[in-house]
């Protein structure tokens, strides 16, 4: 058995350097087979000297159904190749069948750990095509929910990262805190995940009675728990030794591979769409973009932990600034009429019927809208032919693109660190395959 990218055509011979330089290649995967191995590893390995191992697609630490083909030389990973597609369900194609009104039920299922970001990116794209301005309360509700979603997503990362590396208590702790956030989502949208709450034009419903107390409770509950994580993990020598220096990525590599999110920030490159290309009302709140120094797994862990803190800082500011008023754009063609109007006005009834059967028409054109999801730049590209369905729906999934750096992270690392690397990339396979 051999890896199919093992061709030696067009190979550019690199000069000798340290392994970080050697690992820099123009394309992530195709050329991995021909990059010279760093000093200490024989260049021309005989077939019988290496061993191929398939990790996954059903393996507890591959976060779903990621399959990795690993070429091992003893304990060392010489090459690796992620194989994807095991969770492909044709969601982008499905998005062409569903109207813009129904579309959020579809996109929300892509990155199931941060569903609200999918809905947000999709809604922002549709709104841009429609040329709609969303009411301020809708904007702030969206911000509140997505920041809480960032927290729940990172808490899930804390749990799975701990679990992958043997910190089983952390797994339970992470899920415990995430559950508190999901409980709030359940109260707001009626569903713990896959909310279908952020819609083109605003949000489906107002925040429920007593939401402020619930959010304040979260803001009180979580910080001491994060301090516990610090004691349990951040300051724990076992944890540090397991992660520090594992899976090092540098900024140039990360940029060349298109990596975004905590992975890119761990290399010290402060790129965060919330700050660099503000959407919603992120220019009205104060927060820090957390960056790392070494670009290793530990930095990626620490960044996510501190991003939970930053998100809480944002949430606290949202509580103070939450405006009152409409929370869905009052455009008869896009938003159904209030229920009380259906019985009063024939026009309202007709709009109600039209919106719920054929949906609303979106002007011809194409648009790209991007948000900073917990995993990186989540973009939504829509081509509209003027009908009520997208002509083409394309999601730029941060998980898929971040996954491309996995062969780099793993190369010449130990097989025992493979799990640490996969975990620190935090891929959500639903989003990778769609």
């Amino acid at each position: 058995m051999s890896l199919d990218h093992d061709q030696t055509t067009d190979a550019r011979v690199r000069e000798r350097g340290d392994s970080a330089v050697l690992r820099m290649s123009e394309s992530a995967l195709a050329q991995l087979g021909v990059i010279d191995a760093p000093a200490g590893v024989a260049h021309d390995l005989a077939e019988d000297e290496t061993m191929f191992i398939n990790m996954g697609p059903s393996h507890p630490s591959t976060h779903g159904v990621l399959r990795l083909m690993l070429e091992l030389r003893g304990e060392m990973v010489v090459r690796s190749k992620p194989v994807i597609g095991y969770l492909h369900t044709g969601m982008e194609k499905q998005g062409e069948q569903l109207s813009y009104l129904q579309g959020t039920t579809n996109v929300t299922r892509m990155d199931y750990a941060s569903p609200l970001f999918n809905e947000l990116a999709f809604s922002m794209a549709v709104e841009e095509l429609l040329g709609l301005e969303v009411p301020p309360r809708a904007t702030w509700i969206r911000m509140l929910l997505t920041e809480l979603n960032r927290m729940s997503s990172h808490l899930l990362f804390m749990a799975t990262n701990g679990m992958d590396l043997g910190a089983v208590s952390m797994m339970i702790f992470g899920w415990r805190e995430r559950e508190e956030v999901l409980r709030f989502f359940e109260k707001v949208s009626g569903l713990r995940m896959n909310h279908n709450f952020i819609r083109p034009g605003g949000v489906a419903a107002d925040l429920p009675d007593g939401w402020r107390d619930d959010v304040l409770r979260l803001l009180e509950l979580i910080p001491p728990r994060l301090d516990e994580y610090d004691t349990l993990m951040t300051g724990q020598p076992i944890w540090q030794e397991r992660l520090q220096g594992v899976g090092v990525l540098n900024t140039a590599e990360a940029l060349a591979l298109g990596v975004t999110g905590p992975l890119l920030r761990s290399t010290g490159y402060a790129w965060d769409l919330r700050r660099d290309m503000p959407y919603l009302a992120y220019d009205k709140v104060e927060f820090d973009v957390v960056v790392g120094t070494y670009g290793d797994s530990f930095d990626r862990y620490a960044i996510r932990l501190n991003e939970i803190r930053e998100s809480m800082r944002i949430v606290a500011q949202i509580l103070d600034q939450m405006p009152k008023g409409d929370y869905r754009v009052q455009d008869k063609k896009v938003t159904p009429p209030p229920r009380a109007r259906i019985d009063e006005s024939m026009e309202a009834l007709i709009h109600h019927f039209k919106i719920f059967t054929e949906g609303f028409k979106v002007p011809e054109g194409e648009v790209y809208a991007a948000v900073e999801s917990p995993r990186g730049e989540l973009g939504c590209y829509i081509v509209s032919d003027g009908s009520a369905h997208p002509y083409r729906l394309r999601i730029r999934p941060p998980s898929l693109i971040n996954l491309q750096c996995l062969p780099y992270l793993m190369q010449n690392g130990l097989i025992a660190d493979a799990v640490a690397n996969i975990s620190s990339v935090d891929p959500i396979m639903g989003e990778v395959d769609r």
Binding site: E186, G202, A205, I238, R328, Q330, P338, F356, T357
Partner: protein, 217 residues
């Protein structure tokens, strides 16, 4: 970094032994369900016992999972089923397809289909998963039927329709806290959520009472 750092980490876990438990003994004990939860659906009736469904098929039209099948029929003149011209003659929801997005609840112009808080139900064959009108329709007390394969707990069946009420204003601040729905068998006209203006006693200047516009039932 020393031995103490190791121990300090382990102590976090150890201390949990003496803390209050956050988990519950699930099947015996359940965590409370929020009002807006999207559970299996019911077909409602008016306070006089008439069915609300008029067979317009809006729910079937909006369903992204295509799990609803409705056929309407003219009301029999001597014994009308619904107050309107037509009624839902066949009404089926396939719970193997339903994703509980509750767009049907938002779409229903007569609030006929709303949601309960029940999500703990399972089937041993596919035909049980297709709920027919007989199973979906509320009983004579206005409460959802408790079917043998559903796990209802006492008092759980009174909470229904909150998602319908929560989405009724459709984002219009003028309609926050106003009733836009008809009475239900067994409950009467249910109160809306207090809403954003309840948080502070000062009502908004822009608020217009929809009753002033006339014709509000």
């Amino acid at each position: 970094m020393g031995v103490l750092d190791y121990l300090r980490g382990f102590r976090v876990t150890f201390d949990k032994l003496f803390e209050e438990r956050v988990t519950t003994e699930y099947p015996e004990e359940k965590s409370p369900k929020p009002d807006r939860l999207h559970g299996r659906h019911v077909l409602n009736r008016y306070e006089d016992g008439m069915e609300k469904c008029i067979g317009c098929e809006l729910c079937a039209g909006v369903c992204p999972a295509k799990c609803i099948y409705v056929r309407g029929q003219d009301n029999p003149l001597d014994e009308p089923v619904s107050p309107g011209e037509r009624f839902g003659y066949i009404y089926e929801i396939n719970y193997l397809r339903c994703i509980h997005c509750d767009l049907c609840v938002e779409a229903c112009p007569t609030q006929a289909i709303t949601e309960t808080k029940l999500f703990e139900f399972s089937f041993t064959n596919r035909s049980d998963a297709i709920y027919t009108k007989d199973e979906l329709l509320v009983g004579d007390d206005g409460l959802p039927q408790n079917l043998p394969w559903e796990d209802w707990r006492p008092g759980e069946d009174v909470a229904t329709s909150a998602w319908m009420r929560a989405t009724s204003p459709a984002g219009d601040a003028d309609y926050v806290g106003t009733v836009g729905w008809s009475g239900e068998l067994g409950y009467g006209v249910r109160a809306p959520e207090v809403g954003q203006f309840g948080e502070d006693p000062e009502p908004p200047a822009a608020e217009v009472d929809p009753v002033d516009e006339g014709g509000h039932h």
